[in-house]
Amino acid sequence: MSSDGFLLATYAPGTSLIHRAPLWLKFLLVVGCGMASFLIADWAVSAVVLVLLCGLFLLSGAGAARLFRAVRPVLPVLLAIGLFQWWQLGAPTAARIVLNVLICVVAASILTATTPVQRLLDGVASLARPFRRLGADPERFALTIAIMLRSIPFVAGAYSDVRDSARARGLERNPRALVLPVFITTVAYARQTGEALAARGLGEPEDDEGQ
């Protein structure tokens, strides 16, 4: 299974200021950018914010190639959305929508490129801890997020593999030949992952035996 497609940048070890920044600040950046993408009404402001975020990403030393790999899978979708919005609402709105989506992807990539998954897990588990009294299991919640992050490249890779084999059989224009195998592969992957987690005793309800 190839895994070249990846919607969020993979972790790049480093000691930059962004790597060392507290996790809550990076979370805040992601949440802030998510909210800003709804609030920004001018495409020029969106463009400035995007440039600043890209600058921040590069400042971390994670590299332009890593950023491009993160953004690349979303580009065809953005192109389609952009063209549709241009036709429906005009160029400035189309540009704003596309740039705002990119803002979210780049902000999330700053978080994932500069934070090891284990630290993310710890952070998510801490955030979920207050919900324990409502019956939530913070560790399980954190694990779910981690598995979701891990699954994105897998599904992207599955799509890439299926597209190649459909192309080899001359079926690249047949949506069934693309969608159905990806769906089946993804379900099989979900089952395998569940089995692997179960075999390792991960994702089971918390007990008090941790040190």
């Binding site: 299974m1 190839s2 895994s3 993979t10 972790y11 070890p13 090891p116 998954v117 284990q118 630290r119 897990l121 710890d122 560790e139 694990l143 981690a146 598995i147 992050l149 891990r150 490249p153 890779g157 992957y189 395998q192 992952t193 089995e195 692997a196 987690l197 179960a198 075999a199 390792r200 005793g201 991960l202 089971e204 007990d207 035996e209 941790g210 040190q211």
Partner: protein, 257 residues
């Protein structure tokens, strides 16, 4: 040394469109105490099901499987703490993007302190010679490195028993040898299924499984001879396409469900 006891264990699975279930294992009684135990047999014979019983991944339809006195169907959590399981394809087992993170994931329950956990994970990776690859994507590792990593991630929590389902199937000759050496050096009881008869010969005891039953249980050389005999006897007549889509292959698919 742990004690694993299977008492008249049967496993049946429902079959689509048929009222009668298919039997994957039939009334198996075993006591597994040797340090190295191999399970050999044809595809679909019931090897994987037998191994999955030991970790509680498959529950018996009849009978009981006890690991150190714990029933695998009732005390699943306890059983999984003492029985580690390694799958054929390490990519189905490794759930984190890098080796370091995957080993740390294994340790999350037992070591809450992040610094301590990281140090322990590094020590485990170092033991398997994987520390230089710790931050590399699991997709960038070779098949052998991935299999070693899957092994390291399971052994990080120091189980008493290590169960491996055809661990050498996807490996080249060099990596098979590496795996054999690694397994030989482990303190754990090792129970594995394999088609690699050389690996089977390294074991202290080998079970031959055929059509859901243990048809031979004894020394490795005799077991391999028995398996060769069985395989030869089950060969279809020569000819193009003969034997394809056999009942064994169908049962194999069911077993993997």
């Amino acid at each position: 040394m742990s004690g694993i006891v299977l008492d008249r264990v049967s496993v049946r699975v429902p079959v689509d469109g048929s009222p009668a279930p298919r039997t994957l294992l039939e009334k198996i009684s075993l006591s597994l105490a040797e340090r190295r135990i191999g399970v050999i047999g044809a595809n679909g014979s019931g090897k994987s099901t037998l191994l999955r019983l030991l970790n509680g991944l498959v529950a018996p339809s009849d009978g009981t499987v006890m690991v150190d006195g714990a029933d695998t169907a009732r005390a699943v959590r306890e059983v999984r703490r003492s029985v580690g399981f390694v799958f054929t394809d390490p990519l189905s087992q490794l759930v984190m993007p890098t080796g370091r993170e995957d080993v740390e994931l294994s340790l999350r329950r037992s070591i809450r302190n992040a610094t301590e956990r990281r140090a322990h994970a590094e020590a485990v990776l170092d033991r398997f010679g994987l520390l230089p690859l710790a931050d590399q994507s699991i997709y960038e590792l070779s098949g052998g490195e991935r299999q070693l990593l899957a092994l390291a991630a399971v052994l990080a929590v120091d189980p008493e028993v290590l169960v491996l389902d055809e661990p050498s199937t996807l490996l080249d000759l060099r990596n098979r040898e590496l795996l054999r050496r690694t397994l030989a050096g482990l303190r754990q009881q090792v129970i594995l299924s394999t088609h690699d008869l050389e690996l089977a010969l390294d074991m202290d005891r080998v079970l031959v499984v055929d059509a859901g039953r243990v048809v031979f249980d004894g020394g490795p050389a005799a077991a391999v001879a028995q398996y060769r005999e069985l395989s030869a006897a089950s060969l279809p007549p020569a000819g193009p396409g003969a034997g394809l889509g056999s009942a064994g292959a169908r049962q194999d698919r069911l077993e993997k469900r």
